[in-house]
């Protein structure tokens, strides 16, 4: 299990990490969420020894993360790290070999990942000649080519088109199913909600919320009521409900943040009097709403 335990790190006056703790088990995919500057990248960089924490410990299966362990980690930095003028295949073989594969193993693995990412016909191109999306794929291939035990990906979905994002999500899921511990950061919370069972939310260097997505959602004291009508209706009825806060409004649909003890039957009645109801649902908050509430708290 990859464990970041009580990490603290200051850069001058700036506190980057403050008692930051999280774990990622083999086969687990953990979404690492947080606003910009929350400490996600710093936390990830401690895993590689690029940042040495002032306090706390990073371990893999309760042992120090040695160079040998680091060679079994697949890493994707936030601002991407490839040699722009090096050809795709040569570059991937180089990374594979640097991480411990012999030449034939590396070439075999590169061919496999070039096929998976549909990049076989661009294998001789320089990275700089590729589109942004293809560069992103090469970057992910570089993190996978040596068959890692741990994947640490900083914003892997940033800048991807929807199709590329689906491919990326599928590959990450497959890696987790293979037993790889996957830790990735993202600002695309809907995507994280679809992809991950577990998330950790960091703010101001501290993990403020962590656990299974479903549990975090249901544990929230807030509920969202969504009411849809068959035709556009006058929404003035919403104002008459005490304790309800309008969060989203369309002519034929409203989404309300309500308190637990609100009288749902009275509310349903008020909505029905305003127009013909097509759906009436009570939901826990989405991951995005849990995230916003946690960060604002």
């Amino acid at each position: 299990m990859l464990c970041l335990d009580g990490l603290r790190k200051r850069f001058g006056d700036v506190i980057a990490l403050e008692e930051c703790s999280l774990t990622v088990a083999p086969g687990q995919m953990l979404g690492f969420l947080g606003p910009n500057g929350a400490g996600k990248t710093t936390a990830m960089r401690t895993i590689f020894g690029l940042v040495r924490p002032d306090a706390g410990r990073v371990s893999w299966h309760d042992r120090e993360v040695t160079t040998a362990v680091r060679r079994r980690i697949g890493y994707m930095p936030e601002e991407r790290g490839l040699y722009p003028k090096m050809r795709v295949r040569r570059q991937l073989v180089y990374f594979g070999r640097l991480h411990g594969l012999d030449r034939s193993q590396a070439e075999q693995a590169v061919d496999h990942w070039l096929d998976v990412f549909d990049l076989a016909d661009r294998s001789g191109a320089k990275v700089v000649e590729l589109s942004h999306g293809n560069q992103q794929r090469v970057q992910l291939a570089a993190s996978l080519v040596h068959d890692p035990m741990i994947l640490v990906l900083d914003e892997p979905f940033a800048g991807l088109d929807p199709i590329a994002a689906v491919t990326m999500a599928r590959i990450l899921r497959e890696q987790a199913e293979r037993g790889v511990a996957v830790l990735f950061s993202s600002h695309q919370l809907d995507l994280v909600e679809d992809l991950c069972d577990d998330v950790a939310i960091i703010n101001e260097g501290r993990v403020i919320l962590a656990g299974r997505v479903a549990e975090l959602r249901s544990a929230s004291p807030s509920r969202y009521l969504e009411v849809a009508t068959r035709h556009p209706v006058d929404l003035s009825w919403v104002d008459q409900i005490p304790g309800a806060e309008l969060v989203e409004q369309r002519p034929d649909r409203v989404r309300l943040l309500i308190e637990d003890e609100i009288d749902l039957e009275a509310m349903a009645g008020a909505a029905a009097r305003a127009g013909s109801i097509s759906s009436f649902s009570l939901e826990p908050p989405s991951l995005s709403e849990v995230f916003t509430a946690a960060v604002k708290r």
């Binding site: 020894g49 930095p77 490839l82 040699y83 180089y94 640097l98 993190s143």
Partner: protein, 395 residues
């Protein structure tokens, strides 16, 4: 995986990455060297010869021309212009169309630009002709006249060990130029290679698999290898053309001088190569790199200027003796002083010891700065901050 394997892999990548710039720069340098030497051969220069222009009035005897030519050979030539009148000839002398005049067989005229060597040779040639004429008038044969002009006087030169031979001076000059070129050019390559890896963040991927010291060592070694190859190729080409056209004498310098040059070359390159790597790691882009690497180049330049002044001036001053013990300049000054025979044994021993200790310290210090520099993905770092970060990461 063994550390050696990762270092070799990194060296292989560096060599491949620098292949194109290396081939292009080598082609340019080799072309320039070949063109320059060919031009020297074609224009008759390059062997140190000077052509003097001599004006003849009233048909001076052919023996004067022959004597002037012999006296000035082998490193000077003469060309002759004939003038119908002395007035016309003196006008040419004033206009510097000629360097000196010979009038008949008993008069010489100097001008504003007459070189001492030419004046001596012309005066002696005309004097010889006067001796020949006088000898003939008193009944001496031409052979007896020649013995008067060239009496049998045995002469020899005692070489001063302190001055050293021309060959040693050539080697000393080459060592200064070689060190300057190698350190400046290839040091900058190292610096910019480090910046490139840091700027595009690929170093973050690499450091997961290779220790930072090893990555730095791979860079210094591979670029140093390319640099040595290029210098060797240039030297071989220049030597080949020189030998083929009879323009170069292979210096009979002792092997020990050459060995010293090689030793100092490696020590200097390791010292400065590490420093350039550390400097490069502080910058986050090429623009920033210029402001870090620039001052280092000035440091190298100071050694180069001091070296050239010393070698060409032939003076071993106290300043040079002291600076040749300081690691920043020892690689450029000490080989030259050794080649000229100026360096005392104890000076060489001290300079070498200090250089080795400083080299090891520089590699360790630069390695630490490099670790801190490449790990911090921020804009330009200070030396101290990078060192602290490096020390922190290595502790």
């Amino acid at each position: 995986m063994k550390d050696r394997t990762t270092i070799l892999l990194a060296i292989g990548r560096e060599l491949h990455a620098w292949k194109k710039p290396f081939l292009i720069s080598s082609a340019v340098v080799l072309t320039l060297v070949a063109a320059g030497m060919t031009a020297l051969v074609l224009t008759g220069g390059g062997d140190g010869t000077v052509t003097f222009r001599l004006g003849f009035v009233d048909n001076p005897p052919a023996a004067i021309r022959r004597d002037v030519r012999e006296l000035l050979s082998p490193d000077s030539r003469i060309s002759i212009e004939h003038y119908a009148s002395l007035t016309e000839a003196e006008g040419a002398l004033v206009d510097r169309d000629v360097d000196a005049l010979v009038v008949g067989d008993d008069e010489v005229v100097w001008g504003p630009g007459t070189a001492d060597r030419l004046a001596d040779a012309v005066w002696l040639a005309v004097s010889n002709e006067q001796v020949r004429t006088t000898a003939a008038s008193i009944g001496l044969s031409p052979g007896e006249a020649n013995r008067l002009i060239h009496p049998d006087v045995e002469s020899r030169t005692v070489e001063s060990p302190e001055i050293g031979s021309v060959a040693d001076e050539v080697l000393a000059t080459i060592s200064v130029i070689l060190m300057f070129m190698a350190i400046l050019a290839y040091g900058q390559w190292i610096g910019y290679a480090v910046v490139e890896e840091k700027a595009n963040r690929v170093v973050e991927l690499l450091l997961g698999a290779i220790k930072p010291h090893h990555l730095m060592a791979a860079k210094v070694l591979s670029i140093g290898l390319l640099g040595l190859t290029q210098i060797a190729a240039v030297g071989a080409l220049a030597l080949s053309i020189g030998l083929a056209t009879d323009r170069v004498d292979i210096p009979p310098a002792s092997a020990s001088v050459v060995l010293w040059i090689i030793v100092w070359f490696f020590l200097g390159y390791a010292f400065y190569g590490s420093l350039y790597a550390a400097g490069g790691s502080l910058a986050s882009n090429n623009q920033e790199a210029g402001s870090v690497i620039g001052p280092m180049s000035i440091l190298v330049g100071v050694g180069y200027v001091l070296g050239l002044i010393t070698i060409s001036g032939g003076v071993d001053t106290l300043l040079i003796r002291v600076t040749s013990l300081i690691p920043f300049w020892a690689p450029m000054l000490m080989p030259g002083r050794i080649a000229r025979g100026w360096a005392e044994g104890w000076e060489v021993a001290v300079a070498l010891s200090v250089m080795i200790v400083a080299g090891v310290a520089m590699i360790r210090l630069a390695g630490r700065i490099y670790v801190g520099g490449v790990a911090r993905a921020t804009s330009k770092l200070g030396w101290r901050e990078a060192f602290r970060t490096g020390a922190d990461l290595e502790s």
